[in-house]
């Protein structure tokens, strides 16, 4: 018994360290590959660390203008350039997340304080999140690519389309992340005691003043967490971006996928560089809010 007692913690640590190694290995491998030169990508036996570390992959991905001349002859030249995708991703994700956060927070306030939408509103909104994105993508494709151009041609004589535009994708991201915002903000706003607001109102503060000076400061950190959470969701989104944008707008996951489907000679190095660039900032943000992640992913089902 005593031997077992003394050995048990070591067994636990051994198991936990083993899983930690499994978790970190793919990320380690990607970062390592991003510093490898072409001949090392698929060397056998594989090199765990680059034998001749190089920044060439990053240079290829980022300094498109420098290499532009020689690369523009190859068919993959557009693929190399990370800047347009980076710009689209940052713009679409941050604006859509912001819009969703503002709308969702106000609605969550109304739901929490006045019971807007009825008792089952929270659950009704959850259903939207559970529908698989492909089921949303097909109707949206027809709506964006057929119905809106047709309608605008008939009504205004100008052909407008939301297909393959930042606005179209951004609107969709706003809608698909709203359930998360409402659920997370509800859990934060529900924690602010109503008596505080009531006291402020009794002392003569207006409704907007009360919200600005009493409620907002108390839920501000919650709003930051929610924003970061839905930003990460939008940043990772792949199916809708792949299906609803083609030549003009590209987000980073779609850009990475373009490499993947290139059959002739996979470009592992630049891919690893792009992967590292996409992943590292998000993981850092995620670690900052990790205590709250469970709130988002479990729709406030679980407290922490």
């Amino acid at each position: 018994m005593t031997v077992r007692r003394r050995l048990a913690p070591w067994g636990r640590h051994a198991a936990l360290v083993a899983w930690a190694a499994l978790v970190l290995f793919p990320i380690f491998w990607m970062i390592s590959t991003s510093f490898k030169d072409a001949w090392e990508w698929v060397a056998w036996p594989p090199h765990w660390l680059p034998h001749e570390p190089t920044l060439h992959n990053y240079r290829q991905v980022f300094t498109f203008t420098e290499l532009g001349r020689e690369l523009s002859r190859s068919a993959t030249d557009q693929v190399f350039n990370i800047w347009p995708a980076l710009r689209d991703s940052v713009v679409i994700c941050s604006l859509a997340s912001l819009a969703s956060l503002l709308l969702g927070t106000f609605l969550a306030y109304a739901v929490s304080r006045f019971g807007v939408g009825g008792k089952n509103f929270r659950y009704a909104i959850l259903t939207i999140r559970m529908v698989p994105p492909i089921v949303i993508a097909i109707p949206i494709l027809m709506y964006y690519a057929i119905m809106i151009p047709h309608t605008t041609t008939v009504l205004f004589g100008a052909r407008l389309s939301l297909f393959d535009t930042s606005l179209g994708l951004g609107l969709l991201y706003t809608v698909t992340t709203l359930p998360f915002v409402i659920w997370m903000m509800l859990s934060f706003i529900d924690e602010v005691p109503y008596t505080l607001e009531h006291a402020a109102r009794l002392m003569g503060a207006g409704r907007i003043y009360t919200i600005r000076r009493v409620v907002l400061p108390l839920v501000a950190s919650g709003m930051v967490v929610t924003f970061l959470f839905i930003f990460i969701l939008n940043w990772s989104e792949f199916l809708l971006a792949l299906t609803l944008t083609h030549p003009n707008v590209t987000t980073l996951p779609v850009l990475l996928n373009k490499f993947q489907s290139a059959v002739e000679g996979r470009l592992y190095g630049p891919q690893a560089a792009i992967g590292t660039v996409i992943t590292v900032p998000v993981v850092v943000l995620g670690i900052l809010i990790q205590k709250h992640l469970v709130k988002g992913f479990s729709f406030g089902m679980i407290r922490r």
Partner: protein, 327 residues
């Protein structure tokens, strides 16, 4: 309640005299405050979800491929639905999706539960372990797909680690995992397990943290063995958390798409074709719009049943989980 207080409230608030305050005053009315966000959000849902779905129902009744202009489409009735239901590949893809989700979610629950239990019992290094274990769910799924394709590649680290075994069996160690139907399916499942065990771990960890200690201590004092404490005390208390983890993960796992595209592109053959991937190919590669519309409506019906079952379970367990979380 609000209406009864309304007169006193307006009396207390100093009446804004200046013009620019009018808008603010109007906005501050309770009914405006209640309705504006609600109407905006519902309007957005109507515009971006309800109308497109209505349109899709209409298109699903037409005979139309995107290669021809929309005006030439003609009405066909339920023919597309019959085509989808008669398509063996649709059912195959649906079956694959449920199989992937079932295997992946069971593994995630099992591993996540064991990890959470181990971390909950550990004294030192809890924070480090938690931080590391949560990293996968922040990684972009497409990057996960790329990472695993790098690991599974024929001259990758997986084959290097297995080389002694391969030598023992007399096989060439450079195995092309993704070219074999069964191995490719497991490749996708393992990538999913790698990424989403972090979530089940997180859910179970908060479940363990919320366990009421007095109960466990009482059981110990009364002479229960650790085994009995686990099966008779802790597990029943964790039941709501387990249900929540099962429902949330299953709903997400059934959406699986990214890894089918990134790792295997549905292949070899159609062995890793999930239902999302199947639909994507029908619509975006073969331009079968009205067929795709019918299939997505059928899928919506199938999923609606699952979603309602899932939400029913969640709502029932949520009250229990929240009550225990306070204890």
């Amino acid at each position: 309640m609000a209406d009864a207080h309304a007169p006193t409230r307006t009396a207390v608030v100093p009446a804004p005299a200046r013009r620019p305050r009018r808008l603010a005053a109007w906005l501050a009315q309770e009914r405006v405050f209640r309705l504006v966000p609600f109407v905006l959000v519902e309007g957005l849902f109507l515009l971006l979800l309800a109308i497109p779905f209505g349109l899709t129902v209409y298109i699903s009744l037409l005979k139309w491929r995107a290669s021809r202009p929309f005006e030439q489409a003609h009405f066909e009735g339920l023919g597309n639905y019959a085509d989808v239901l008669a398509d063996a590949e649709f059912w195959w893809a649906l079956g694959r999706t449920f199989y992937f989700a079932a295997v992946a979610v069971s593994l995630e629950l099992l591993i996540g539960f064991v990890l959470a239990m181990l971390v909950a019992r550990t004294v030192r290094g809890t924070r480090v372990y938690t931080t590391v274990f949560l990293v996968p769910m922040m990684v972009v799924p497409v990057v996960v797909g790329y990472n695993f394709s790098m690991i599974y590649v024929d001259s990758g680290p997986l084959n290097q680690l297995l080389a002694p075994v391969a030598a023992l069996l007399g096989v060439d160690p450079r195995i092309r995992w993704l070219s074999h139907p069964v191995a490719a399916q497991w490749a996708i499942i393992l990538a999913d397990v790698w990424q989403w065990t972090s979530l089940t771990f997180l859910i179970f960890l908060s479940g363990f943290a919320a366990l009421p200690r007095p109960l466990v201590n009482a059981a110990r004092v009364m002479g229960a063995s650790p085994w009995q404490i686990f099966w008779r005390v802790q597990l029943p208390l964790l039941k709501p958390v387990i249900v929540i983890a099962v429902v949330i993960r299953s709903m997400e796992a059934l959406k699986i798409f990214d890894q089918s595209v990134l790792l295997t592109f549905g292949g070899p053959g159609n062995s890793t074709q999930t239902v999302a991937f199947y639909l994507w190919r029908q619509v975006w590669q073969f331009n079968k719009f009205s067929f795709g519309a019918a299939a997505s409506m059928l899928l919506l019906v199938i999923f609606a049943a699952l979603i309602y079952a899932g939400i029913y379970l969640l709502v029932r367990q949520r009250s229990v989980a929240l009550a225990e979380g306070r204890g």
